[in-house]
Amino acid sequence: MKKLTAKTPSTYRTALTPYSVWSLLFVIVPLIFIAFYAFTDDNFTFTTDNITRFFTAKSNIVGEDGTSEEVRTYILIFMRSLKLAVISTAVCLVLGYPIAYIMARAKERTQKTMVTLIMIPMWMNFLIRTYAWMTLLQDTGIINGLLAKVGLGPVHVIGTETAVILGMVYDYFPYMVLPIYSILAKLDVRLLEAARDLGCGSVSVLRRVVFPLSMPGVISGITMVLIPSISTFYISQKLGNGKFFLIGDAIEGQYVANNLHFAAAIAFILMVILLSLMALVKYVSARYVYGGE
């Protein structure tokens, strides 16, 4: 009997075994492979060429006015990915925060309904969702059809940055709303009453109490949207008509072209950048943000 109830570190370890095996096989080993491929050439001899290529590869871009400009290809692609990801994350935050707040303050039944509504799109395949947006946004698509009926438009969205951002916001929105909501739902109502009692109007209560206390949710929301949207690929191909080649597309392209080693190198660099970014966020929030440690 005693063995069953005793919670020694070794029992925990035993209980964790399946998970440990799983992550070893499907997380650690693949990561080692990526690193291995990134630093080897086709004959599997050590090289840093793939890494250097990421930083040095150049190409010419012909601008609209016909002048051509030499740029560092992958740096440009990465910066473009970062820009779109940051914009999408910001849009998710600006749209998601009020919804999370309204949800957290709603009646319990309404809360459940709203959580379900926000999660339903996640039950559908991501490719299908993206295709759905293509149909919606086409120049001859449903939205433009409707706009034409009321005498507006057509608006050209498909193939623009806006379309890509729209797609990303749509796909990653729940990952912003849910962590913020879960923090706000747990917020002690007495703290809001205390703030009012001490002279805060509604705006002040939000600014001085609700927002700072919800920072842990905001930070995890930002992390959960920013990171996948930096490395996204399919959305930009379908909604951007392939005009906005992103870092995820680059990895996919190299992989499809059978340049496994360079594809691994890009993935490896992206991973290093994202991990440092996360470390930075963690460091900053631990020091300056409530609940960050």
Partner: protein
């Protein structure tokens, strides 16, 4: 004394359930008033109505002569010490206390000066930079008091502020709160279900039950002259016996006619007679006005607590003399030990110790209970 807060015929219901039923109450300048009653009696709701967190369905809330029914809480000159303190966990001690001052956008030097003074008053001078989550319950309590007082409100509302503290700390904080109230001259409205706390701290006690005010008075009034069986039972221990008021100064109960000090009842009016356990004198059976058998004795430290069966009614008697279980004893009552009350709907519900046990009492009234 000037009235600071007046409640006029306040009624309030939640989901059709009446919580406050036509409450009227005057609260004066510089007064330490306690709203006392069991869970669900409406004391917290009364406090929340004064604080502006609830709004009455009927009646008026008057503050310094002005009707403030619709004034939101952040515009009232009233501050609250919340149950469980409600300190802001993302701010340190200094910033918690400075919170209302920053809202008023006072100059930095003035904020620093006021906060420092407040922290000094609650004896937390060295704690300004501490996180509030790292403080003990008593220290958090002090921060909450400092934060509520820094704005120099006209009235301070305290919602069972000592409920979460252990007994020793609670006694200390009672003294301290009383001292702060005297020094600042701010009106305190204090909510508690602890009658001892109410008796030791208050200038005025308001006993509430079932959404109604049962009695308003000084602690001695409430203790010595309870108006009905509910108040008599809720404040301290009491034996409440059925009696008949024969005429002024003469009451009959337990088959004996007693001298008393009460007047103003009709001839032969049925009444409730209150006798406090410490006012009963034990004598030899033949000298007793009433006689009975001791059924149990509990040693309480200062005194013995005896349950005595007198004609089928179980009395509680507290005495410093030794008593033995099973002994046949007599009791005598001085006229001033007897208090007569009119019959009320609470008659017969309280004041009989036939099913009494200390343990049960504690179980049914645990310290630090919360009222929602």
């Amino acid at each position: 004394m000037n009235k600071v807060v007046e409640l006029k015929n306040i009624s309030k219901a939640f989901d059709g359930e009446v919580v406050l039923d036509n409450i009227s109450l005057d609260i004066h300048d510089n007064e330490f008033m306690t709203l006392l009653g069991p869970s669900g009696c409406g004391k917290t709701t009364t406090l929340r109505i004064i604080g502006g967190f609830e709004f009455p369905d009927e009646g008026d809330v008057i503050f310094m002569g002005e009707r403030i029914n619709d004034v939101p809480s952040h515009k009232r000159h009233v501050n609250t010490v919340f149950q469980k303190y409600a300190l802001f966990p993302h701010l340190n001690v200094f910033e918690n206390v400075a919170f209302p001052l920053r809202e008023r956008k006072l100059p930095k030097t003035e904020i620093k000066e006021k906060v420092t003074k407040m922290l000094e008053m609650v004896m937390l001078s060295g704690f300004a930079d501490r996180r509030v989550t790292s403080l003990s319950g008593g220290q958090q309590q002090r921060v909450a008091i400092a934060r509520a007082l820094v704005n120099e409100p006209k009235v301070l509302l305290l919602d069972e502020p000592l409920g979460a503290l252990d007994l020793k700390l609670r006694k200390d904080m009672q003294q301290e709160l009383k001292k702060i109230q005297k020094n600042t001259g701010i009106t305190f409205i204090f909510v508690t279900h602890d009658q001892e706390e109410a008796l030791s701290m208050s200038d005025t006690i308001v006993v509430m039950s079932e959404g109604k005010i049962q009695q308003i008075g000084t602690p001695t009034d409430i203790y010595n002259e309870p108006v009905n069986a509910f108040v008599a039972d809720f404040i301290g221990e009491s034996n409440i016996i059925d009696g008949v008021m024969l005429e002024d100064y003469r009451v009959r109960f337990g088959g004996h006619v007693f001298q008393c000090l009460d007047t103003g009842f009709m001839k032969n009016e049925p009444v409730d007679v209150v006798v406090r356990p410490e006012d009963v004198d034990i004598v030899a059976p033949e000298k007793g006005m009433l006689c009975g058998d001791v059924t149990s004795v509990t040693f309480m430290g200062v005194h013995n607590e005896a349950i005595v069966d007198i004609g089928g009614f179980k009395w509680m008697i507290q005495t410093t003399d030794p008593v033995l279980e099973g002994a046949h004893i007599g009791i005598t009552l001085e006229p001033d030990a007897i208090h007569i009350m009119k019959k009320s709907k609470y008659s017969g519900m309280f004041g009989d110790y036939s099913s009494y046990s200390n343990e049960l009492e504690e179980l049914s009234n645990p310290g630090g209970e919360e009222e929602e």
